[in-house]
Amino acid sequence: MEATIEVTELSKRFGQTMALDQLSFNVTPGHVTGFVGPNGAGKSTTMRVILGLDAADAGQALVGGRPYRSLRHPFNHVGALLDASALQPSRTGRNHLLWLAHSQGLTAARVDEVIGLVGLETAARRKAGGYSLGMRQRLGIAAALLGDPPVLMFDEPINGLDPEGIVWMRGFLRALAAEGRAVLVSSHLMSELQDTADHLIVIGRGRLIADVGVADLLAAAADGRVTLRTSARSEAMTALARAGATVATTDRDTLTVSGLAAERVVAVLGENTVPFSEVAPHRATLEEAYMELTRDAVEFHAAVGQAEAQ
């Protein structure tokens, strides 16, 4: 398949720190692939290596089967948004796109097309220095779309957007993937990718932690648990524990039950005449799944601790 990013055994060291440690993954077309990890996990470094900006110490990154530096019209192969604020403030947004277009042999007509795609018509002829973060993100995405590439990479595109911008961005990312493009989106917050990503690549300290479909991940995280809403919390806990279940308190009137199917929970509660208002299979959030996933990754916990300490 052409429209892929293939990262193989990538390693890179910055002084004492291992920024990337034998990292391997693929990005496939037609999906939004979330690239997740805490700040400092190596997401941006990976993207820079893929774009030929940083050199890896070992391993390789290919785009459509070729190293980025060998691409002649790179924007026809990959579009990327690394840092939306990397703009000359006194240049207008349109002129920023114009020089990029000229570097790829594209015309001003294409510039106006992508301005329309991201809805930046009104601001395009203003100086980029006065843009809000949302406008810069849109400008950066317009730049990534200039060459109409089959592969797109966005580094933290949702970070800092207002709610309206987040809704727009999610829809836009999904639409791009629906056209058959491979879309790699990094984030340090799992929740940002909820309802957006189809597939996740989770890294920590430069290492791959998980390379998994979102549906599989959520199913695994739910792990047959049952959510129980009841006003008689302690009676319910006693009865269910006697029946062999593990029960955890989620909040004042909600319990999470594992080890018993939902029908058995209803039966046990009925036998013991414990009142309840709801019994439902547990729906895991991505955040939960993420915690579940990383529970055993001791090094990763350490990394999170370090990142928080900083």
Binding site: A55, S85, L98, G105, D148
Partner: protein, 514 residues
């Protein structure tokens, strides 16, 4: 096996890739930042305005009867054409042969004998044979001569000088000189004994009329004393040279013709010593004379005096050209640039071509405006301007533009290496502008100034020098009236610096993580 979604295929078509696209992109980048465009235009303006201010600072008084314009030589330059001439007309081809048996002289009131006229021959005192179009000052000529301390020389049309046998002349060691004319070609010979002749050189004097003047001449330039130091200066003393000629033989001249003696370019009523004279006795001639046949040594303003704004324009150019790359590093935009064009060496090349070309245009327009405007102001203030050929003027204009353009490329390269504007701009001003200002304006010893203008990129200012320094003329001008290097050699020094900086920048931009 599951069938994945159909990979995306773009219908977008692009042109060929190549340097042209990168040039287009970098040009778009340049022209869309108003500050850079204004900066570059103002570099041209600064060149003009500072040049005009400097031009307005030169005042020269003229006598009430008006300024005297020196004679102009065949190549269009100002010349000195003052000497004692004993001549006969020569119709068509012919030759003159003489033996010179002595060259002596007098120096008036030298600093060590302020009240005396003492014997002495200045190094470029000249005595020999000459064929000259007419007695008009500045007319074409060729001559072969003995000199005070530079041996035998052939010189023609004021600026050309060829060395022959070295050593002085005396009765015990005379010199035979011969000059032949064959239509427009004049060839000179010398001999120690009158039988073994050596060719010294030849000159082609296009447009020489059929009838010319042939004869003997003597000239003796000013005795110039320079005192070093800040309070120093130069003083000039009138001198006279006297030479004895015998064995004079002429071919192509009407037999029995007499000699006419004439002090060319000397006003009657001046110092007696300057009048010179001719004495003939039994085939032996004694000629005395003053003056010189050479390029004029000064007395007017030069073309480059209108370009004093160059160093100020250079500062503007350095700032703009440095920003052209450091602004990208500062904002992280260099990543966008290198993502768009992964071939980094080409990115650097495209940037260098664009910034070099726009700076060249600004410099070209600036210099082309500054020179005529400056000359106009200089003339209005009573200054004379040393005329040069239009080719030289063109070299000064294009050279000034090239000086600014290559410096812009140097600034781009240094900016790429340092990645920070402040460091790069400081380094460039210290390396290029400071040496020039120090050498030209600061009280440095002559050796230090010369050294600064040889080894630093400031050597390139030599490209603006309109008048060559002729070794056959000793001038009373300040040490840095002339740059220590020839115009293109000085410019080459800057080019070498720029090439090295570009190579380093290319190496670093390729190797570094962006």
């Amino acid at each position: 096996m599951t069938v994945g979604p159909t990979p995306y295929h773009s219908s977008l078509r692009t042109g060929h890739d190549g340097l042209m696209q990168l040039l287009h992109a970098e040009w778009t980048k340049f022209r869309t930042v108003r500050g850079w465009v204004i900066g570059t235009v103002s570099a041209g303006l600064v060149l003009v305005l500072v040049g005009l201010l400097a031009s307005a600072g030169f005042h020269t008084g003229c006598p009430p009867e008006g300024c005297v314009t020196p004679p102009v030589g065949p190549d269009g330059e100002w010349v000195t054409d003052i000497f004692y001439f004993a001549y006969q007309p020569l119709d068509g081809d012919g030759s003159i042969t003489v033996r010179v048996t002595s060259l002596t002289g007098l120096i008036t009131y030298p600093p060590d004998h302020p009240n005396d006229i003492v014997p002495g021959v200045v190094p470029w005192a000249k005595a020999g044979v000459i064929i000259k179009e007419s007695t008009r000052q500045g007319s074409p000529y060729a001559a072969v001569m003995v000199t005070g301390s530079h041996g035998v020389r052939m010189q023609y049309n004021y600026t050309h000088d060829t060395a022959g046998r070295s050593g002085g002349v005396s009765a015990a060691s005379p010199r035979w000189l011969r000059l032949t004319r064959s239509s427009a070609v004049l060839t000179s010979y010398e001999s120690a004994d009158g039988s073994n002749w050596t060719r010294v050189g030849s000159a082609y004097l296009g447009g020489l009329p059929r009838t010319v003047l042939v004869g003997l001449f003597v000239a003796s330039p000013w005795y110039i004393v320079s005192s070093p130091g800040l309070a120093g200066g130069t003083s000039s003393r009138l001198t006279q040279a006297t030479a004895n000629f015998d064995h004079v033989s002429l071919q192509g001249v009407a037999p029995g013709g007499g000699w006419t003696g004439h002090a060319i370019g000397v006003e009657s009523g001046g110092p007696v010593l300057a009048q010179g004279g001719l004495m003939e006795s039994e085939g032996s001639f004694t000629l005395s004379g003053t003056g010189d046949i050479a390029p004029a040594e000064g007395g007017g303003r030069r073309v480059e005096d209108t370009l004093r704004g160059t160093f100020a324009a250079l500062i503007v150019v350095i700032v703009v050209a440095t920003m052209f790359i450091t602004a990208e590093y500062r904002r992280g935009m260099i990543r966008t640039t290198l993502t768009a064009s992964p071939r980094r060496g080409r990115v650097l090349a495209a940037k260098a071509i664009v910034i070099g070309a726009v700076t060249f245009m600004a410099g070209l327009v600036g210099a082309a405006v500054a020179i005529p405007l400056g000359e106009w102001i200089l003339r209005a203030d009573g200054n004379q301007i040393l005329t040069v050929t239009s080719l030289t003027e063109l070299r000064v204009v294009v050279g000034t533009a090239a000086l600014l353009a290559v410096t812009a490329v140097l600034a781009l390269a240094v900016g790429t290496v340092f990645r920070r504007s402040a460091a790069a701009v400081t380094a460039l001003i210290v390396a290029m502008v400071l040496p020039y200002v120090l050498a030209v304006a600061a009280p440095l010893p002559e050796g230090v100034s010369e050294w600064l203008l040889r080894v630093t990129p400031a050597a390139a200012f030599a490209i603006q020098q309109s008048l060559p320094q002729y070794p056959q003329v000793i001038t009373g001008n300040t040490p840095l009236y002339y740059y220590p290097m020839a115009p293109w050699a000085g410019f080459a020094v800057l080019c070498v610096y720029t090439a090295v900086a570009l190579a380093l920048a290319a190496y670093m931009i390729r190797r570094r993580d962006a």
